[in-house]
């Protein structure tokens, strides 16, 4: 186990280092771009530019600059924004992270419930009309872009119907769980549904395929020969084995989402989560903010893939021997 953790930690550091170097180089090494003028604004006078260069250490060689940024980000933890001068990056991220986590937590519950039951129902009714129906909803949910769906949901709930059936829907924004759990859930309800729809569609389709494959395996024939009920065969044997491939999908999806990939949903619903923060950083070309968000994201992706490996070993005994 210790070996496993050490190995994972090393790979996390390697991934984060590689990504940070890439982000850094894209920002600074793009030819013909003067970072000082980006920070100070295009119309700034040469004197101001010099001042800015000195203040941000932009006149020093690239590796030193990179080192300084990492030092301020990870060790002194006082890296500040290039745009909103004086704003520290880390508190912004720690403030945004709970919002993102809340959004993803609820969406995960919904998409697992809907996705797994959809997949099971479709596989169980293969060859009847229910199967193509479920699969149609699945493909529809996958194909609808999140920003469009989000805008539509906002339009419907906040528009003409806001005074009648959707009066209970808040005007957007976020209430923390510790402050008021009911309002927390209410504020996040539609963002959850919006984010979950895509993943529910994907999971239902993937699970259906896995289940149908597994139902043709030899061990299912053995289970029938043992005199088990069709129900037990489906849930205890076929579904259990099908979940193995769902888990790897799930881990990566959650990692990427927590890392900021829920950006579109956050922006559409005005939730100031990590995705939204990254979006701000990108709009303003605010390198420290981008760097902070990217590092945070990379960390979660690596963490999630490590979690997947652990869960994998738990649900698939064949992996355990190797690990």
């Amino acid at each position: 186990m210790l070996r496993f953790i050490a190995k994972r930690l090393a790979s996390a550091i390697l991934v984060m280092f590689t990504i940070s170097v890439l982000v850094f180089l894209i920002f600074f090494a793009t030819p013909g771009v003067n970072p000082a003028s980006r920070i100070a604004g295009r119309t700034a006078s040469p004197a101001v530019l010099r001042q800015v260069s000195k203040e941000f250490g932009l006149n020093r060689p690239l590796p030193i600059r990179y080192g300084l940024m990492m030092y301020h980000l990870f060790i002194k933890q006082d890296l500040t924004s290039y745009v909103n001068i004086g704003d520290r990056i880390i508190p912004q991220i720690t403030a945004a992270a709970p919002i993102t986590l809340s959004l993803i937590f609820g969406a995960v519950v919904i998409w697992l419930l809907v996705g797994i039951s959809g997949g099971v129902i479709a596989a169980k009714n293969k060859g009847k009309f229910v199967d193509p129906l479920v699969m149609f909803f699945g493909i529809a949910a996958i194909s609808i872009p999140v920003y469009w769906l989000g805008e539509m949901v906002s339009l419907v709930t906040q528009g003409g119907l806001h005074n009648s059936i959707f009066a209970w829907v808040p005007n957007g924004g976020y209430v923390s769980l510790t402050q008021n759990p009911w309002q927390w859930a209410l504020h996040l309800f539609f963002p959850w549904l919006t984010l979950a729809s895509l993943y529910a569609g994907i999971y239902a389709r993937v699970l259906r395929g896995e289940l149908i494959n597994n139902m043709n395996e030899d061990y299912i024939r053995t289970a029938r020969a043992k005199g088990l009920s069709e129900r037990r065969i489906l849930y205890r044997h076929a579904l259990r084995c099908s979940l193995i491939s769902i888990v790897s999908l799930f881990g990566l999806d959650v990692g990427v989402l927590v890392g900021g990939a829920a950006l579109l949903t956050e922006v559409v619903f005005g939730l100031q989560g990590v995705g939204w923060l990254t979006y701000q950083g990108l709009q303003n070309l605010d390198l420290p903010l981008i760097m902070g968000c990217v590092m945070y994201g990379a960390f979660f992706v690596v963490l999630a893939s490590a979690a997947v490996d652990v869960i994998y070993a738990y649900i698939d005994p064949r992996i355990r021997v190797v690990a």
Partner: protein
């Protein structure tokens, strides 16, 4: 006994079983008019090449052919009770409870994510009112009985931690767990090496002597039949070509297909000079002739073979061939039908 009368001691009697599948290319008659009996404590071998319908026949009678386009007709009596057309729930108590099954590939026959003990316990508890603890004790006993060393710890191991031969022992332990009256073994040793095959056949023979269950063994290997079976059904293109006691079929086979089958096997125990071959390939299940199914490949084909031969013969040795006894005697005296030099 002739197939028309139902003997009193038959555990399984199959009469005129037909299984067909509706496909886009037409109707495939996988099994066509199969009748046989399995007596108490008898080992019946069903031998045939791939596509002969030997597995489909056994699977269909237990409701294991789950294809919407299948139609099954005939009669299958298990201990005097008709089991064709039983509901799913009724069939579930027959399967695993009164009829145990062993399959060809032990590597894939067990669910990979559960321990072997869990899987045996699952079956025990599906058919008996047993506590989990008692079932685990019984599972450990069963593993010991099929010769798995250190059963107390092995009961908690997963299938992938066993070798092929050991997995087949687990499958056998599972099949025998509810003391079935009948054991159906579908190519139980085909995927195994010859030394492992010997272990498994030996084990099946010993367990059968102890438990007294009847066995139907499905195989393509005449040698396996000779090792373990009392009687044989030779199948070709879904139809029975010959049925009889094992020694009679091996030593005085009556059907030309059986001659070919026996002569085609290279032997480890005697020198074979040139193998007898059956020309051509197995008949496509879509194009089975209306007459004798084997006629297109048969070198003794006659005009009458355009008509389907009945299964007939003396006493318990029956065959479906138009050749007369005199013709057969003449053929067997002039041609080497077996592979010896």
């Amino acid at each position: 006994m002739s197939p028309e009368e139902t003997p009193t001691d038959a555990v399984l009697s199959v009469r005129d079983l037909s299984v067909s599948f509706a496909t886009r290319q037409g109707v495939v008659r996988a099994v066509d008019g199969l009748s046989f009996d399995v007596g108490t404590k008898e080992v019946l071998g069903i031998v045939g090449e791939s596509g002969s319908g030997k597995s489909v026949a056994m699977y269909s009678m237990l409701g294991l052919v789950r294809d919407a386009n299948v139609s099954i007709s005939g009669s299958v009596r298990f201990e005097g009770r008709e089991i064709l057309g039983l509901s799913d729930t009724e069939m579930q108590s027959v399967r695993g409870g009164e009829v145990g099954m062993i399959f060809q590939d032990p590597m894939t026959a067990l669910t990979p994510v559960y321990t072997v003990g869990w899987q045996i316990v699952e079956q025990l508890r599906a058919h008996n009112d047993m506590t989990k603890k008692a079932a685990y004790v019984r599972a450990t006993e069963l593993l010991a009985e099929v010769g798995i060393p250190d059963p107390k710890s092995r009961v908690n191991h997963y299938p992938h931690e066993f070798s092929g031969g050991m997995r087949q022992r687990v499958v056998i332990a599972m099949a025998l767990s509810c003391n079935p009256k009948l054991l159906i073994a579908d190519e139980p040793t085909t995927a195994l090496d010859v030394t492992t095959q010997a272990q498994i056949l030996d084990l099946m023979g010993r367990l059968q002597a102890i438990h007294g269950s009847s066995i139907v063994i499905i195989t393509h290997d005449m040698g396996v039949i000779a090792e373990i079976a009392h009687r044989v059904v030779v199948m070709y293109a879904g139809r029975p070509a010959e049925i009889g006691p094992e020694l009679d079929v091996v030593r005085s086979a009556r059907h030309p297909y059986t001659w070919g089958l026996l002569g085609a096997v290279p032997r480890a125990d005697v020198k074979t000079r040139r193998l007898v071959t059956i020309p051509g390939n197995a008949v496509s299940p879509l194009e089975v002739p209306t007459g004798c199914a084997f006629a297109p490949r048969c070198q003794y084909r006659m005009d009458i073979c355009a008509e389907r031969p009945p299964l007939r013969g003396a006493r318990d040795h029956l065959d479906a061939c138009w050749l007369s006894d005199e013709q057969r005697l003449e053929i067997r005296s002039t041609v080497t039908v077996r592979g010896e030099s």
